[in-house]
Symmetry: C2
Subunit: 153 residues, 2 copies
C-alpha cells in the first residue's frame, strides 16, 4: 500500500461499509483508475501484479465484486471474452461499440445530466453514475459489409 491511489471518498465508502483498505484492493483500484480502456479480470490481475506481486486471481474476482457492490466500478460487455470493468468514480462513461469488430470509441459529450435530476425525483432513486453506450458498425466494418462479405450494409 505504498501509493495513495484511492481517493478519500473511496476509502470512506469502503470503511463506512465495514471493509478494510488492503494492498490487494489498492492495487486493483490503481489499475482501474489509470486504465484507458475497460479491462477483464485477467488483464487487471496482470497489471496489478506490478504493484502487488503476490496478488491472486481469486482476490481480483472478490475485489471487483466488492467494488461493484459499492458503486466504485461497473461490469460491462464490450465484445468477446466476458465482462470488463470500468471505474465509475467520476460518475459517467460514454462510448460507442462496434458490433462486428468490437472496437470502442469514447466521447466526452453527455446529455444525461438533466434527465438524471428528473428521474431521481420521480423514482426516489439516488443516481450515482451513468453509462451511455451507442452500438452499431464502425467505419471500417461498414466498408467490409458493403464489399459483399456478409451483406450487413
Amino acid at each position: 500500500m505504498e501509493e495513495n491511489v484511492m481517493t478519500q471518498a473511496m476509502i470512506v465508502r469502503l470503511q463506512q461499509a465495514g471493509y478494510r483498505k488492503t494492498a490487494a484492493r489498492n492495487a486493483v483500484m490503481a489499475v482501474l483508475r489509470q486504465a484507458p480502456l475497460h479491462l477483464t479480470h485477467q488483464e487487471i490481475l496482470s497489471q496489478a501484479r506490478a504493484l502487488n506481486a503476490t496478488l491472486s486471481l481469486a482476490s481480483v474476482y472478490r475485489t471487483l465484486e466488492l467494488f461493484t457492490s459499492l458503486g466504485l466500478c461497473r461490469p460491462l460487455y464490450l465484445g468477446e471474452g466476458g465482462p470488463r470493468f470500468a471505474c465509475v468514480e467520476d460518475g459517467h462513461h460514454h462510448h460507442m461499440v462496434c458490433r462486428a469488430c468490437y472496437c470502442t470509441y469514447h466521447f466526452p459529450e453527455c446529455t444525461a445530466g438533466e434527465l438524471e435530476v428528473e428521474l431521481s425525483s420521480r423514482f426516489g432513486f439516488r443516481i450515482e453514475s451513468h453509462l451511455v453506450e451507442f452500438y452499431g458498425l464502425c467505419r471500417e466494418c461498414q466498408a467490409e459489409g458493403e464489399a459483399g462479405k456478409d451483406g450487413l450494409g
Copy 2:
C-alpha cells in the same frame, strides 16, 4: 415456426448475412421480443420451450451470440447471475439499476437522439441502437443504508 415473431427486417438481416430462419431462432426471438425484463440464457430457454419443446441450451447460447453479432440483441449486466439479454431491434433501452438489490426500473425518456446524429457524422460510425443506464441506490436500499446497516447513505 408457426408464428411470425420476427419482423421482416430481422429476417432480411439474418438471410442477407447468410443465415437461415429456423425454429430455434424463431423461439428465442419470440421470447426476447415479448419479455418485459432482461433474461438470462436459462430463463430464455425455459420460456422458449413453450414454443419449441426440444430446444437445447446450446442452441440458446449459439442463437444469442448470433443475434448479438447481428445487432438484434445486446448482453448486459443487471445484477447477479451473469449476462442478461435485451432485444434492441427497437433501437434503444433506458433503465436504472440499483447496485444493492439489483432492482431495475425502465423509463421512456431519451436524450440520446441528437447526440447520436452528431457522433455518427464525427466518427463515421453507423449507430443502430443505444443504451442509457443509470446506476445507484433505489429508495428502499437508501432507507436500509440510513438505518445504519452498511452506512452507505
